[in-house]
Amino acid sequence: MVINSRFFNRSELLGFLALAALLLVILPLSLDIFRLNLVAKYLTYAFVGIGLVLCWGYGGILSLGQGVFFGLGGYCMAMYLKLEASSVANTKIQSTPGIPDFMDWNQLTSLPFFWKPFHSFPVTLLAILLVPAFFALIIGAAMFKRRVGGVYFAIITQAIAAILTILIVGQQGYTGGINGITDLRTLHGWDIRTDHAKFILYFVEVVLLFGCIVAAQFIRLTKLGRILVAMREQEDRVRFSGYSVANFKIFAFCAAAVFAAIGGAMFTLEVGFMSPSFVGIVPSIEMVIYTAVGGRMSIFGAVWGALLVNFAKTSLSESFPQLWLFGLGALFIAVVLAFPNGLSGIWADHIQPRIDRLFASRKSKSAAGMIADGAPAE
């Protein structure tokens, strides 16, 4: 990779602009609000994907528990929205008015202590960022300080995803159980269920996504990003050079957790509910799939991967529900076996050179002739 002093090099800038044009102009103009809302749902996974690029692609830490952080962010947001929706006026018919409906169904008579901070919007926003980061810090510190890595880390994060799911499903009175937290209505008094609100939320989400892309790009280009790559390739040499490998890993893991949590919070807003089916092992692995398909080394690739795989999932499962799992499985095997760098790898190896040649041929006719003669089609 050529070290570039600019923040985005030319092709990255093109990628950024292409994505911005697609998400900000083309899709909002061409899709109806239902489809646009679907795109917004897909994009929430792109946040997770960007985090995974940092932590898995660059840091070499495969976390199979990103659903945990996605879920924590989503549940924090959902708890705030739920409290707002279960005001005393809205819940008059309950035996205890003013608490969420599922608590009333489970014979709870007062709000549990960990729900209380979520009455306040600023605290909720802070919690969305800090709770997952803190959680990731504990897990990361416990594991990386003891030099648990690779496969073991993947399995343990997977177990944590399983634990959290079982806990949420089991503690129905506190968490809403298997149905999750549903019937969310307003955000700070603003109805999130209208088409207009969905339209605005879409743009908020895209802006946040670009914020995350820039943040991830910043991390990637600083010395920190280079140390992450060095760690992935030769962990011991980095350690012998005097860097604290564990701390860098913890940072990458926490950053990925925060990105995932932002995605989760946006998911709750866009879709209007949060449930344990977005927390467990299967969604966590699917999030890794999106990243792998897009390209684990490419921030933009992760966004494209989340968009395309989910688009394929929706359209295939609408028309051929049986084929979808076959397709997803085969796609996954194919990506791992043949294209370890995913779509962005295919782009960089096969399509980018052709585009470059095309540009070169426009610049000078004679050079174009030479290239066309000298380079047979791949």
């Binding site: 399995i155 634990i163 079982i166 796609l331 095997i333």
Partner: protein, 308 residues
């Protein structure tokens, strides 16, 4: 939580839950044995292991149906035929998968995880298309039903005893094959140093294929045993895969004895807690304990001392 029970009640409860835990233990051991061979010895993370188990369960189900229709006189003993068929079917599929998929990925263990996850999705959907989405259960022959009355308050189910005896036999057989047969020596040689093993004339590719096949075959037998205690559905395998990995990691990945010890402690903790707490909390506490212990002792209970 102990308040309402007298001492003798508690004793009986512990014994009964202990036996219930032993059946869970048997399934864990059979699942984990296969995984310990594949993951512990070969370093391949086989996320489709649960699906190999379910293949064994479906083979058992088909055998039971076939025997009932074709040769009813064979029914009391059909289980032994079913087990052998399950072993062959899962083992053969395992060897096919190794040839088509796994052998390209030995140098990238994390990628085997992703690829086999894809495989597990395909297998699940295949089961759903072939056998239907509904869960199926096998009919047990008469001699396996019922239970032994040990004391007035303790009952021991016969099918549970049978599964346990079976588990012990298979464990001994696997230990024999791996540690005393010449083929087992070859397997361990390949695991320790692939290049040198190849240099002294061991056909490493063949050893890999048969090792993977053996691991999957044992998973098939686990599926056979599983049909006795639960019904089989297309996604039943997925419920067990994380637990099984934890069993293997908790025991220390390369240690067969550790696998058995950890399967025992995990299944006993879980089934004893299950009586006093709700099922989900029992599971949460068990898993949390394992994760906490693994954070303190990442190499597992019984680990070989190796320098990396």
């Amino acid at each position: 939580m102990f308040g309402d029970y007298s001492i003798s009640d508690l004793g009986a409860i512990l014994a009964m839950q202990g036996f219930a835990g032993l059946i869970l233990f048997s399934v864990y051991v059979l699942m984990a044995l296969g995984l310990a061979i594949i993951f512990g010895q070969m370093g391949v993370i086989n996320m489709a292991h649960g699906e190999f188990m379910i293949l064994g369960a479906y083979v058992t189900w088909m055998t039971s149906n076939a025997v009932q229709h074709v040769a009813p006189w064979l029914f009391p003993g059909y289980f032994f035929i079913a087990m052998i068929l399950a072993f062959i079917a899962s083992g053969a599929l395992g060897m096919l998968v190794e040839w088509a998929l796994i052998r390209h990925l030995y140098k990238r263990p994390l990628d085997t995880l992703l690829a086999t996850w894809g495989l597990s999705l395909i297998l699940q959907q295949a089961y759903r298309s072939i056998f239907g989405a509904r869960e199926v259960g096998v009919e047990l022959p008469e001699w396996m039903m019922g239970s032994l009355q040990a004391t007035d308050s303790i009952q021991i189910p016969i099918n549970g005893m049978f599964v346990m005896a079976l588990t012990m036999l298979i464990t001994i057989a696997v230990a024999y094959v791996l540690f005393w047969s010449s083929w087992g020596k070859q397997v361990r040689a390949v695991v320790q140093n692939r290049v040198m093993a190849g240099a002294v004339g061991i056909n490493t590719e063949k050893v890999d294929r048969y090792t993977f096949g053996l691991g999957c075959g044992i998973a098939g037998i686990a599926g056979s045993a599983f049909t006795m205690i639960g019904s089989t559905g297309p996604t039943a395998g997925q419920l067990y895969i994380v637990d099984t990995f934890l069993v293997v990691v908790f025991g220390g990945a390369a240690s067969l004895f550790g696998t058995i010890a950890s399967a025992f402690s995990i299944s006993q903790t879980q089934s004893t807690l299950e009586f006093f707490l709700s099922g989900s909390m029992a599971k949460v506490i068990t898993l949390l304990t394992i994760v906490a212990i693994l954070m303190v002792r990442p190499q597992g209970l019984f680990a070989l001392k190796v320098r990396k």
